[in-house]
């Protein structure tokens, strides 16, 4: 009974963000960014927390989503839904292609290969100047009005927030359904006991591949939304620091929980925003968050509270 109640409270709070956040000194775009990171981290957590694949290169798919959306707006058609779709498909396809190269690896070796492939996309974005704008990033696009029932609706910060919130709800619903399905149970089984699964006749590698591809699609979706939020796609969207940030978001919130990545993202984004406003050395503090999370909250905040409750 307590869980649905807590979930309802969270959703109501999220729906009311544009009303209460400015009162607390925040701004709506900050909440939008937190939700976007929550989408990406939730997607990653499907692989990281539930399937046990330690991907440290998911910013690659996030960034490809951002570039895909931007390029679609510039070169194909000024349509918001099409841009989101294009970004998602671009990053998702990259995930499908990279998946087979990493799925046979375990543990740290898996991490190392995903880091390296992430870096590959980074260098493609930096070096392919004509298409991507190189180091400066891709600019020259913005949120175009959406056609709804014959009216052109311009998405300001609030309306865009609600669009992202709707996407977030959709992603949470999809992840929830996957985890309840045989596929999701298969993911957890891969994490817990791949040997037994193999004896039962399940193609373990294919499970990992599916999890990898789904999480890449979701990360790319978040990346496309991020490009529309900032009006900009930068090589940093593909970089290793962002990949690491996604992982630490999952760990901070709790990898064994559906809401963990959301909680982690909210804390991370607020901390990053605050730290970068008060000190130039905010990178040190973000690094410190990494270290403290590992040493003191390896179960994550949600896992931590659950551990206390069960005692």
């Amino acid at each position: 009974m307590r869980r649905p109640l807590a979930a309802a409270c969270i959703w109501i709070a999220l729906l009311a963000v544009p009303f209460w956040l400015p009162l607390m000194g925040g701004y709506t775009d900050l909440a939008t960014r937190a939700l976007i990171y929550a989408i990406a981290a939730s997607g990653l957590n499907l692989l990281l927390g539930y399937t046990g694949g330690l991907s440290f290169g998911h910013a690659a798919y996030f960034g490809l989503g951002a570039y895909g959306a931007g390029l679609c707006l510039i070169h194909v058609a000024p349509s918001l839904p099409l841009a989101i779709l294009a970004g998602t498909v671009l990053g998702g396809i990259a995930g499908i292609l990279i998946g087979p190269l990493v799925m046979r690896r375990k543990g740290i070796y898996f991490s190392m290969i995903t880091i390296a492939f992430g870096q590959m996309f980074y260098f493609i974005a930096v070096r392919w100047n004509g298409l991507t704008g190189g180091e400066d990033g891709l600019t020259g696009f913005s949120r175009v009005p959406v056609q709804i029932g014959g009216h052109a609706v311009m998405l300001g910060p609030e309306r865009f927030y609600y669009l992202v919130l709707a996407v977030f709800a959709l992603v949470m619903a999809v992840i929830w359904q996957i985890l309840r399905s045989p596929l999701g149970h298969g993911f957890v089984a891969v994490r817990e006991n791949p040997t037994r699964l193999r004896f039962l006749g399940v193609a373990v590698e294919r499970q990992i591949w599916v999890a990898f591809a789904i999480s890449a699609f979701i990360a790319a979706l978040a990346g496309a939304l991020n490009a529309l939020l900032t009006g900009f796609a930068s090589p940093d969207n593909l970089g290793w620091q962002l990949s690491g940030s996604f992982v630490v978001i999952c760990v901070l919130g709790g990898m064994r929980s559906v809401w963990g990545p959301f909680l982690g993202a909210a804390i991370f984004i607020v901390a990053q925003d605050y730290l970068s406003s008060i000190t130039q050395n905010w990178m040190s503090f973000i690094g410190l968050i990494f270290i403290l999370a590992v040493l003191f909250f390896p179960q994550g905040l949600l896992g931590f509270s659950r551990l206390k409750a069960s005692r």
Partner: protein, 289 residues
């Protein structure tokens, strides 16, 4: 054209040597400590900056030894207080920890020494080309090759013939057994970590003499070192060296023929190796699979 290719291949060989030294240290730490040391690149940058600072007082040759040793001191502290609590836990955590450490160290280097790149002063007699026709062959590059050959050879000999080397190799094979036989594996792992950091610091100074100093030099050299390990094969130190040289030369040649792809070619090679020979060139079959 031929001269250009030889020149580029040689340039690539020098960069490959830096990759190889980095990959060798990473590989050692990955093997016995079971940790991907993401901060390896910043330890390398630290070694270079320390050398930059102490060189005016002690000279180039002494800084080549002292600066990596100073980096090792910090490395041992990190191993003792941050990494040791994570042994035996999910490898995710040690990787995240070194990730955070890399961010902090890079930021501190930027704060202490400035974010603008700086040249690393070499003794003048090392910086002049040896002959007119082989204009790319400076004394410094010869020194880089010689030192690396000596260090790598010495390391392999030490692993083969000294007591601690034999223990490190045995620990790679079965840590539990050598622990049961009375080897203090905590000291062994710390020593192993220190050796890895020494190699990183040395690579940093050698690279600084060639490429100059910048706070982000570590993160730009560590990624190719990962690729070197994957291409060479996890679990094989010789493979890591070989992998580093291969991708260095390939990158150097691509820089001459199609400069835009000089970084991407490294990852393309990795993808090809992963498809054709998933365990890497000299990797052991079944390790970490």
């Amino acid at each position: 054209m031929e001269a250009l290719l030889i020149y580029s291949a040689f340039n690539g060989l020098i960069t490959g040597i830096f990759y190889a030294l980095m990959a060798l240290g990473l590989s050692l730490i990955l093997g016995l400590n079971g940790v991907i040391n993401f901060a390896h690149g910043t330890f390398m940058a630290l070694g270079a900056y320390l050398a930059f600072t102490i060189e005016p007082y002690v000279g180039f040759w002494a800084s080549l030894v002292c600066a990596p040793l100073l980096a090792v001191v910090l490395g041992l502290l990190v191993e003792r207080w941050l990494i040791r609590p994570l042994y035996g836990r999910d490898p995710l955590f040690s990787l995240l920890l070194t990730f955070g450490l890399a961010m902090i160290m890079e930021d501190l280097i930027r704060t202490i020494w400035g974010s603008v790149g700086q040249p690393f002063a070499l003794p003048a007699y090392l910086n002049t080309p040896l002959s007119g026709s082989l204009f790319f062959l400076t004394g410094y590059r010869l020194v880089v090759i010689l030192i690396t050959a000596l260090i790598t050879g010495g390391l392999f000999a030490a692993l083969r013939y000294t007591r601690i080397g034999i223990r490190i190799r045995a620990g790679n094979a079965d840590l539990e057994t050598i622990s049961a036989m009375g080897v203090n594996i905590y000291v062994l792992r710390a020593a192993n970590f220190g050796i890895g950091i020494f190699l990183a610091g040395l690579a940093g100074i050698l690279a600084a003499g060639q490429l100059g100093l910048s706070p982000s030099m570590g993160s730009s050299l560590i990624m190719p070192s990962f690729v070197a390990i994957i291409v060479g094969g996890v679990g094989s130190l010789m493979g890591s060296v070989l992998g580093g040289l291969i991708i260095g030369i390939a990158s150097g040649l691509t820089a001459a023929l199609y400069p835009v792809a000089q970084e991407v070619v490294i990852y393309a090679i990795m993808a090809v190796v992963l498809v054709i020979r998933p365990r890497g060139l000299l990797g052991q079959e079944g390790l970490l699979e």
